[in-house]
Symmetry: C2
Subunit: 239 residues, 2 copies
Amino acid sequence: MTKVTAQMSVSLDGFYAGARHSGDDGNWMDSAEAAGFFRITRWVIDAMAWRERQGFAGGRQDTNSDIVAESFEAAGAYVMGRRMADGGEIPWGEEPPFRAPVFVVTHRPRQVLLRRGGTSFTYVTDGIASAIEQARAAANGKNVAIAGGGSLVRQVLKAGLLDELELHIVPVVLGTGMRLLDADLDLADKEAIELTTTRVVHAPNVTHVRYTVNGRAALVLDDRGSGTGEPSPGGRDAV
Amino acid sequence: MTKVTAQMSVSLDGFYAGARHSGDDGNWMDSAEAAGFFRITRWVIDAMAWRERQGFAGGRQDTNSDIVAESFEAAGAYVMGRRMADGGEIPWGEEPPFRAPVFVVTHRPRQVLLRRGGTSFTYVTDGIASAIEQARAAANGKNVAIAGGGSLVRQVLKAGLLDELELHIVPVVLGTGMRLLDADLDLADKEAIELTTTRVVHAPNVTHVRYTVNGRAALVLDDRGSGTGEPSPGGRDAV
């Protein structure tokens, strides 16, 4: 059954890139956004399965490479944000790494862009849900992968459309940057999004944690701590 | 050798409690801060090793309980923030769960408070580094555990005084709240705090990840992605 999935590399403090680069402010490659992004994704750039898709030589054949290969294999179609699609168009070249239909969420209508190796870019102007539905129809029973960026992943989560999230947690603290799980999730007071951890893979330089998204739920105080009275508020920072 | 350690339960979006409660705004137990806090620490409250220290009946004897027991066992002394110490003073009662000397970082001088079971509270008014040094002397070769709250843990990390951090990552998204790794770490542009993951323990409802803190480092762009040119900026959100 087709699932809607997303996977992102994040720092320990939840960033997938450094502080957002403004186009007016020099070359992206020299920006703090890029410096953070390349630190966070270093494990991917080292992985043979990623390098092979990019047409790069070398790389490591290890657990991380298996994780990358598995992600590519599971995706029958992609949904992508406009900023990512624009940024990638030239560097991905004639044979982008996706090898599957990509549906780009955008406000600007544009003709389908066909590339070699099975990748196509279809520009969807009537919203995220529509892009996901079109991707689902194209996915041939495989998963619909939300390719990014973080803002799109967050919107899909917020809309209740995400079935599975995998975080690749990298042991670095950036302090500032572009945060995946940012404040605009529209959660009410004492409301949360509950998930279930379904898989943890520990590699030396990154921890891969996969979650099923269960959906929104109220935060209800239970009384398990009340064996001899109320749960201790003084304990609130002890754990 | 004595290490300075900290461990905190955090949500997937990095919060250790809900939105901070103001004292003027009703009972803490009814606050969003508490609702988030008790959701995040539910695995602890269920653990037999924690319940035993609190004098509560029941609890589960499982991996989570082993993790709690291990944390208590490793700590020879604690350093604690003032807000946590104040909040805990009454609920912890005559026999607090620490069973070791606790050094409270505060601006208000106060006599040492002796409790049963080996717990004492010493109020340190000359700063965090002094509190850690006093705790180190008292720890008898065991570790100095930064008991919390999050603000104190962050200050110790920022000051370069933390050797080891363990995060108990709970699969819930709160959207807002008190964030452990918040923006006031004073990291420069393209500077990060690097860590090494040393242990990952996966329990059904929480993932325990332990890190050694290596310290501050510049984010340097390497050229591993440049097999056929520059690393692809378009790929910045793909992973």
